[in-house]
Symmetry: C2
Subunit: 241 residues, 2 copies
C-alpha cells in the first residue's frame, strides 16, 4: 500500500476527520497511484504521525481521506546521521537515497577537499533542495514516519567544529573496523568521503576534533556503496534491525 | 593505484616475467589511466593471482609490465552468492555492482514471477554479458583478486531445485531478522526479489525446498538497496569484515 504525505494543516488529524492531499501529493495519488474512492491508504506528516484512512474523494487536484486511526511513531532516542561528501555523477544522490531507505535520521551535505562537485552560491540552495526531494521520495518509498532533515552544506572545518555528535569517518587506511569499533553513547555521524577519498589532512582535522576512524572490509568502495553498507552494519550493532 | 586484469596467458607469471595488457585493458591503462613507463601497477587474473610490477612499455594497444612479486589470494572457504531478481530500470545492475564491491562470491540472475524485465532467447545472453561486464568493472574498482561468476539466469523452480547452498530469502513479512537468524554451515545464497516483491507462492516453493526467510528492519527497501545492505550484515556476521 502506498504512503502519502500530508502537510502541516492535516498533521493533527484524528479518527473521523477528513484530510486532503493537494498539489503534487494529490496528483501522485490520483494520477500515478490511481487511488479510488473507498481505498485504504496510509498517511504521514513525516514528523511521526501515522494515519490510516479511506479515500472519500479522488481528484488529481485534491484527494480527500477520512481518518480511521492515528498513532504516533516516536523518533529514535539515539540519532545516526550521514555526512555525505558531494561526489561526481549521481553517486552522492544514490547514497542519500539508499541511506534514507535504511533509516538514516539526518543528512549533512559535505563539501570535502576532493569533492569534484561544488555547491557554491545559488547552487547550494538548489543542491540542497534536490537532496531534500530525493530524501522525501525515498522516505515515502520506504514507508518512514520520519523524513530525515537535509542540513545546509558544510565544509570540513564546520564538520570538525560540530558538537554533540561523534563522527565516525569511513577510512580504508585504518585497522579499526565499523563492525567492532567502540561506539560512544549518543548521536553518531557517519562521514563518507568523495570518489577520490578523504584527504589525509581532513582526517587529521576530524580526528583532532574527536572523530573515530573505521573501515569496511578490505575493498575499495564507491561512495554510493560505502555509506549504505556502513549504515546497515550500524543498524545491526545498535539493535535497530 | 589502479588494478588491471591480465588474461589467462599471463596468469602464471612470476617475478622477473614481463606480461602484457592487450585489447580494452591496454586501452584503459594507457589512454584512460595514463600509466607511464616506470609506474608501479597491480595486476590480477581474477582467479586469485595478485601481481605487482612496473610498467616497461605503455601503448594504447599493448602495455607491458615487469613482475616484481606474485602472491596467491585464496578464495573464501564459505561462499556467499546473490540471486538477484531481474528488475526494471537499472536497479538490478546497481545491486550487482554494489554486491561485487562488497565481496559477493557469485551472482545468479533470477527471473522472478514479478520481474518486469524478461531475459528471453538472445536477450538472456546479452543480459548476462552485461552483468558480467558490470561485475568485472566493479571487481576492478574494488581491487578484488577474485571476479565473481555471473551464472546463467534461473527460474524460481530452478532456484528451488539448486542443492549445496542454503537460500536466505529477503522477505519483509517474516519475524526472523538477517541480523540474528540462525545461519547453517556451508554456502549461502541471498535471494532478493524484484521491485514488486516476491510472490507468496514463490516464497512457498523456496521455503519448501529448504530456504530460510529473513527481513532487514521495518522499511520497504528498493531491490538495489536490499541486497547490498544484507550482504553488509552477513559480512559482519560471518567475520569477513
Amino acid at each position: 500500500m502506498a504512503l502519502h504525505f500530508v502537510d502541516d494543516s492535516a498533521a493533527g488529524a484524528v479518527a473521523g476527520d477528513v484530510v486532503a492531499l493537494t498539489g503534487s501529493e494529490a496528483h501522485h495519488a490520483a494520477s500515478v497511484r490511481r487511488v479510488r474512492t473507498g481505498e485504504a491508504v496510509t498517511l504521514t506528516d513525516g514528523r511521526g504521525a501515522w494515519l490510516r484512512g479511506a479515500v472519500v474523494a479522488a481528484d488529481p487536484k485534491r484527494v480527500e481521506i477520512r481518518i480511521d486511526a492515528r498513532e504516533e511513531r516516536s523518533a529514535p532516542g539515539r540519532r545516526v546521521l550521514l555526512a555525505q561528501a558531494l561526489a561526481k555523477g549521481d553517486r552522492d544522490e544514490l547514497a542519500v537515497q539508499a541511506a534514507t531507505e535504511l533509516g538514516i535520521d539526518g543528512i549533512v551535505p559535505w563539501q570535502a577537499d576532493r569533492s569534484v562537485s561544488r555547491w557554491q552560491g545559488a547552487k547550494a540552495d538548489k543542491g540542497r533542495a534536490r537532496w531534500q526531494s530525493i530524501v522525501r521520495e525515498a522516505a515515502k518509498q520506504a514507508h518512514r514516519a520520519w523524513i530525515p532533515e537535509v542540513e545546509a552544506p558544510v565544509s570540513t572545518n564546520e564538520l570538525a567544529a560540530r558538537t554533540g555528535t561523534t563522527c565516525v569517518v569511513l577510512d580504508p587506511w585504518t585497522d579499526a573496523a565499523v563492525t567492532s569499533v567502540d561506539l560512544p553513547a549518543g548521536d553518531l555521524m557517519l562521514v563518507v568521503g568523495p570518489e577520490g577519498g578523504i584527504a589525509p589532512e581532513e582526517i587529521e582535522r576530524l580526528t583532532g576534533a574527536g572523530a573515530l576512524r573505521a573501515r569496511l572490509g578490505d575493498s575499495v568502495l564507491r561512495t554510493s556503496t560505502a555509506g549504505p553498507a556502513a549504515i546497515a552494519v550500524l543498524n545491526a550493532r545498535l539493535g535497530r534491525w
